[in-house]
């Protein structure tokens, strides 16, 4: 717990032509904190995440990030070279579809080792042993280090993606519906894993999900989005147990069991 946020997002906006995907998004993220962004499909939560993760360029606002060595940089206006270098070395992005977040043409070990090589690691033995440790950490048998991800189950692919994203010990990890499309039992295992790894590694996370159960389990705080705007924000239990906005009440009351 430090008293300065690691990320300060202010007035972030993105429109596709005349359709506004997100507008005036403001929030702070502290070191070690997990923030959930919830809302229905089309609420702009994935656009928000993609703006933060550098997949698309925002039209407005600032994304001020405190670098590991200190010093703040506005990622929204930084040069592309600098932004990509920072995102590569200090951020992770777990995509909803493992096909977007993994290289299916190379082995599990290479998938985990690539971020290390991307930041300059040049010792094969060390890369391989680190990859092996991370496979174990995400409960993938280290014997499968040379197998292609295409032979893995959906849950394993997602866990492999998590290993690939945490191997560089990032400061911030973005997760887009990390449990989407998985069986309930597989979801539980994955959620437990994410929860544990995020705690153990002291990483901050922004998790986009439509599943309030996921938010309840993982997040310290929540943003509720509707039609591109944040309609309510606060501590996760406050939002779920005492929702104020009509839309949040609707979301909470629509869940079978939270």
């Amino acid at each position: 717990m430090t008293d300065a946020p690691i990320l300060r997002v202010d007035g972030l906006g993105k429109a596709y032509g005349r359709r506004i995907a997100c507008r005036d998004i403001c929030f702070d993220l502290w070191p070690g904190e997990v923030l959930a962004v919830v809302g229905e499909s089309g609420s702009g939560k994935t656009t928000l995440l993609n703006c933060l993760g550098g997949l698309i360029a925002a039209d407005a606002g600032t994304v001020r990030y405190t670098r590991r060595g200190g010093g703040e940089i506005d990622l929204a206006t930084a040069g592309e070279a600098e932004r990509r270098a920072i995102l590569r070395a200090e951020w992770g992005f777990v995509r909803q579809n493992p096909r977007d977040g993994l290289r299916f043409g190379v082995s599990a070990g290479a998938n985990v080792g690539e971020p290390l090589m991307a930041i300059g690691s040049r010792h094969f033995g060390k890369i391989r042993s680190t990859a092996s440790e991370w496979l174990e950490a995400v409960e993938i048998d280290a014997h499968r280090i040379d197998d292609l991800p295409s032979g893995f189950s959906g849950g394993m692919q997602q866990r492999l993606q998590i290993a690939r994203n945490l191997v560089t010990h990032p400061s911030i990890v973005l997760m887009d519906e990390p449990t989407g499309g998985l069986d309930v039992s597989v979801q539980a295992k994955l959620l437990d894993l994410i929860r544990r790894l995020v705690r153990e590694n002291g990483v901050s996370a922004i998790v986009v999900t439509h599943d309030l159960g996921v938010a309840r389990l993982l997040a310290d705080r929540m943003l509720v989005m509707k039609e591109g705007e944040v309609v309510e924000s606060g501590l996760t239990d406050q939002l779920l147990d005492d929702p104020q906005a009509a839309y949040t009440q609707l979301l909470v009351s629509s869940v079978l069991t939270v």
């Binding site: 717990m1 437990d192 309840r216 389990l217 310290d220 501590l235 406050q238 005492d242 104020q244 009440q249």
Partner: protein
């Protein structure tokens, strides 16, 4: 004596947007101070907002009128207006809240659930597990169950995990919502003893108990909560 909990003219209304925006007023003008070493038990007919008071004090419900102040790090923190960040810190170090239900976490063992508040306060994992284990043992949870996730436990067992998780961490402020519900006599006795011990050790306890005998066993003061009339 300086209060640990200060409730000033607390008011709470639930606005139900899904029911045409009707407003349910459940609390109004409720004030109370609880000092360290004191155990205040709230008494009222069910449905009068006793749990709501505890939840407002814990910051789980938003405070709509009045103030709740909690002594945290020697200063009084205004729960209703403090930042989410500060509230997390207050909860981590100061407020132990036993709600009526345990939130089970998939695949996390009973022992780790109980040890978690200690680990969150930077206690070494092994030391935290040892302390959690002795608390579970005290509450009569057999050692063979410690490694199991409590999702499959009985209601009484889950309730004891819930209590262990809070009492293990020596919080200066304890908020207990029907801590003895669904416990058999022997376990109820143990829980009441633990609460008295915590109070004697200096905790400020605010509890809701419907059982008169239990109230008498732990309370240093009993406060009646006046029922509200439902306003439209």
């Amino acid at each position: 004596m300086e209060p640990m909990i200060r409730i000033e003219a607390l008011a709470k209304t639930f606005t139900l947007h899904l029911r045409g925006g009707i407003a349910l007023r459940v609390l109004e003008g409720f004030s109370l101070d609880v000092a360290a070493g004191e155990c205040v038990v709230l008494r009222a007919p069910s449905g009068t907002g006793k749990s709501t008071i505890l939840r407002c004090v814990a910051g789980n419900y938003r405070i709509e009128g009045g103030r709740v102040l909690i002594r945290h790090d020697r200063a009084l923190v205004d729960i209703g207006s403090t930042s989410p960040r500060e509230l997390i810190a207050v909860r981590r170090h100061t407020i132990g809240h036993v709600s009526q239900f345990l939130r089970v976490i998939p695949r996390v063992s009973a022992l780790d659930i109980v040890a978690e508040p200690l680990i969150d306060r930077e206690m070494h994992v092994e030391a935290a597990r040892t302390k959690a284990g002795s608390m579970l043992a005290r509450l009569g949870i057999a050692e063979r169950m410690w490694t199991l996730p409590p999702a499959t436990f009985s209601g009484g067992e889950q309730q004891r995990i819930n209590i262990a998780r809070v009492l293990v961490a020596d919080y200066p402020v304890l908020l207990l919502d029907e801590p003895t519900a669904s416990l058999d006599d022997a376990n109820r006795r143990i829980v009441l003893d633990l609460i008295v011990e915590a109070r004697r050790a200096g905790a400020a306890v605010l509890a809701v108990l419907h059982d008169a005998e239990d109230r008498a066993a732990i309370a240093t003061r009993i406060v009646d909560v006046a029922p509200m009339e439902v306003a439209a």
